[in-house]
C-alpha cells in the first residue's frame, strides 16, 4: 500500500513518528517491486544510518564531556622522602602537615593515620612510655598503633605506602587499611599496607 516510498524515505529518520524505521519491502498495491523502489529503499537506509550514527556519536560525546582532563583537587598522595630518612621508631614529622605517623621497625615501615578509632581525636605519641595516648578518652595504642587500653575498638588505621621510581616513599591517605576487632586484619596481609625493609 506504500505507493510513495519517497515520502517514507523522507521520514524514516524520525522513527518517533511511527513510520517504519527501515522500510519493509516497498511493494505497491499490486505487489510488484521495481529497481527504482529498491534504489530508494537503499537511500532511505543510508539516511537512517547517517542520522542515527550522528545521534549516537553525539550521545557518546555528551558523556565524555563530563570527564574533564584535569582536576583542581588537593591530592591525598604525597612523598615523604626516602626510607633511609627514617630511624627506628615513630616519626612525628608529618603529624602536623598530613596527620600521619611514620613507624619504622627493623623489618618494615608503615604509616599510621593519627586518628583515634574511638571518636576520632588525634592521639599523642609518648616517647617515654612508647605508646600513643588519646587525650580525649584515654585510649592507648602501642607503637604499632594497636589498641591495648581505653575505649578504642580497634588499632589505628594505616595508609597505603609504596616506593616510587626515584626511591621515594609515596603515601596515599585515601587508601586505608583497617584491623577491626574480630574482623579480618588487613595489616601485614596486604602488601601495600607496609614497606618491607631489608
Amino acid at each position: 500500500m506504500d505507493t510513495q516510498p519517497s515520502t517514507v524515505g523522507a521520514v524514516t529518520p524520525k522513527p518517533a513518528q511511527g513510520a517504519k524505521p527501515t522500510g519493509k519491502p516497498a511493494v505497491d498495491a499490486s505487489g510488484k517491486s521495481s529497481p527504482e523502489l529498491e534504489h530508494l529503499r537503499m537511500r532511505r537506509r543510508l539516511i537512517w544510518v547517517a542520522t542515527g550514527g550522528f545521534l549516537v556519536t553525539n550521545l557518546l560525546m555528551f558523556l565524555r564531556f563530563f570527564f574533564p582532563r584535569t582536576l583542581f583537587e588537593p591530592s591525598l598522595k604525597f612523598r615523604i622522602g626516602s626510607p633511609s630518612d627514617f630511624g627506628l621508631g615513630v616519626d612525628e614529622r608529618f603529624k602536623q602537615s598530613h596527620r600521619i605517623w611514620v613507624v619504622r621497625l627493623p623489618d618494615k615501615l608503615f604509616v599510621i593515620v593519627a586518628k583515634c578509632t574511638h571518636l576520632g581525636c588525634t592521639p599523642n605519641w609518648i616517647e617515654t612510655e612508647n605508646k600513643f595516648k588519646c587525650p580525649c578518652h584515654g585510649s592507648g595504642y602501642d607503637m604499632e598503633g594497636r589498641n591495648f587500653e581505653g575505649p578504642a575498638p580497634r588499632p589505628m588505621d594505616r595508609a597505603e605506602v609504596e616506593l616510587d621510581a626515584e626511591g621515594q616513599i609515596v603515601v596515599d591517605t585515601s587508601r586505608l587499611y583497617q584491623c577491626p576487632a574480630g574482623g579480618k586484619c588487613e595489616f601485614d596481609t596486604d602488601p601495600n599496607s607496609y614497606l618491607a625493609m631489608s
Partner: protein, 311 residues
C-alpha cells in the same frame, strides 16, 4: 590600499555574521521579489480580463484540479523541516570547528579598548551616537523603533496582499519597511567596517591607525546664522525642525497617496493611523538620514539646542 587591514576586519570571527548578512539579505530580497514580480504579472493579467479572474485559481504556483488542495503535514512538511535542521547542524558544526569564538584579554577597567564596540547587532545604535546625544540614540530611538515595528500592522490599512509576495499592491508598506531595514543594516556596516580607532571614519581598505589625526570641528546650526542667545537658538531650532517636519510630511503624503490603490488605502486609513505613520516615517525614515547627512557632509552637530536637550 591596505588589503591586509581590510582582510583583518572582514575575517574577524565576530564580523563573519555581518559578512553573511551582506550575502543573505540581498539573496533573499531577490528571491522574494522575483516571486513578487510573478505575482504582479498574474495580478496584471487578472485585472485585465475579469472572466479569467472568475475561474482562475489565483496562484503563481502550478495547479491542477485533480491535485489535493491540502497535503499532509506528515511527511510533506516535516521532511523539509528535517532537511533544514540537518543542513543547519552541518553548517554550524563546520563553522564551529573552523572558527574559534574570540576571547580577548581579561577584563581590565583601567585599559579602554580602542575602538571598543558594542556587539555587532547593536553597533547600529553605537553609530547613531555619532549623530545624536546618547539619550536619543541610545534610549529614545530604540524605543521608537520597537514601538514603530509593533504599530506597523495596525497602521497598514491595506486590505490586499495578505499571504503572497507582491509589490504593486503594497508599495508604501514595503518601501517604508525596506528603507528602515536597509538603514539599520547600513548603520551596522558603517559601525563595523568603517569605524576604526577613536570611532574615526576609515574608508574601506584604509589602515586603522590609532595615531591618525583628523580635522573635525562640529558646529551647530545656529552658529551658521551667528545666533548666540539661548532663546534665539531654541527658536531657530524649533523653526528648523518644524519646517523639516512640514516639508517631509507633505512629501511623504504626496508619495503615500500616489496611485488609485494608495488613494483607496489612504481613504481607509483613520486619522490616528495616518498620524502615527507620518510621525514614524518622518522621524525615523526621513529624520535619521537627514541628520546623518547634515553631520557627515556639513559637520553640523546640533539643530535644536535647548538648555535641557539638544538634537
Amino acid at each position: 590600499m591596505d588589503w591586509a587591514q581590510l582582510w583583518h576586519i572582514v575575517s574577524l570571527p565576530d564580523n563573519l555574521p555581518i559578512v553573511a548578512l551582506a550575502v543573505l539579505v540581498p539573496f533573499y530580497a531577490w528571491y522574494g521579489l522575483r516571486q513578487a514580480r510573478k505575482t504582479d504579472q498574474l495580478i496584471g493579467t487578472l485585472e485585465a480580463n475579469p472572466e479569467m479572474a472568475a475561474t482562475h485559481h489565483r496562484k503563481v504556483h502550478p495547479w491542477q484540479p485533480a491535485w489535493a488542495r491540502e497535503v499532509q503535514v506528515w511527511p510533506y512538511l516535516l521532511r523539509i523541516e528535517f532537511l533544514a535542521a540537518v543542513i543547519v547542524t552541518a553548517v554550524l558544526l563546520v563553522w564551529s570547528i573552523t572558527l574559534d569564538a574570540p576571547l580577548e584579554e581579561p577584563a581590565n577597567p583601567n585599559h579602554t579598548m580602542n575602538p571598543s564596540k558594542a556587539p555587532w547587532y547593536f553597533v547600529g545604535l553605537q553609530e547613531m551616537l555619532v549623530y545624536f546625544d546618547p539619550w536619543f540614540a541610545g534610549v529614545v530611538l530604540p524605543t521608537l523603533i520597537i514601538i514603530g515595528l509593533m504599530a506597523f500592522p495596525y497602521i497598514d490599512a491595506n486590505p490586499l496582499g495578505v499571504g503572497y509576495y507582491t509589490i504593486r499592491q503594497r508599495t508604501v508598506a514595503l518601501a517604508s519597511f525596506g528603507i528602515g531595514f536597509l538603514m539599520w543594516l547600513t548603520l551596522i556596516f558603517i559601525g563595523t567596517f568603517i569605524r576604526g580607532p577613536g570611532w574615526m571614519w576609515f574608508s574601506p581598505g584604509r589602515t586603522w591607525d590609532h595615531t591618525r589625526v583628523v580635522y573635525e570641528t562640529n558646529r551647530n546650526l545656529p552658529d551658521l546664522f551667528g545666533i548666540t542667545g539661548p532663546w534665539g537658538k531654541a527658536i531657530l531650532g524649533i523653526i528648523a525642525v518644524g519646517a523639516f517636519y512640514a516639508v517631509a510630511g507633505w512629501a511623504s503624503h504626496k508619495l503615500v497617496t500616489r496611485g488609485s490603490l494608495n488613494q483607496k488605502i489612504y481613504e481607509r486609513t483613520n486619522l490616528l493611523q495616518y498620524a502615527t505613520f507620518q510621525f514614524f516615517a518622518i522621524t525615523i525614515l526621513a529624520g535619521l538620514p537627514a541628520k546623518m547627512l547634515l553631520r557627515l557632509l556639513f559637520r553640523i552637530k546640533y539643530v535644536l539646542i535647548t538648555p535641557w536637550v539638544n538634537i
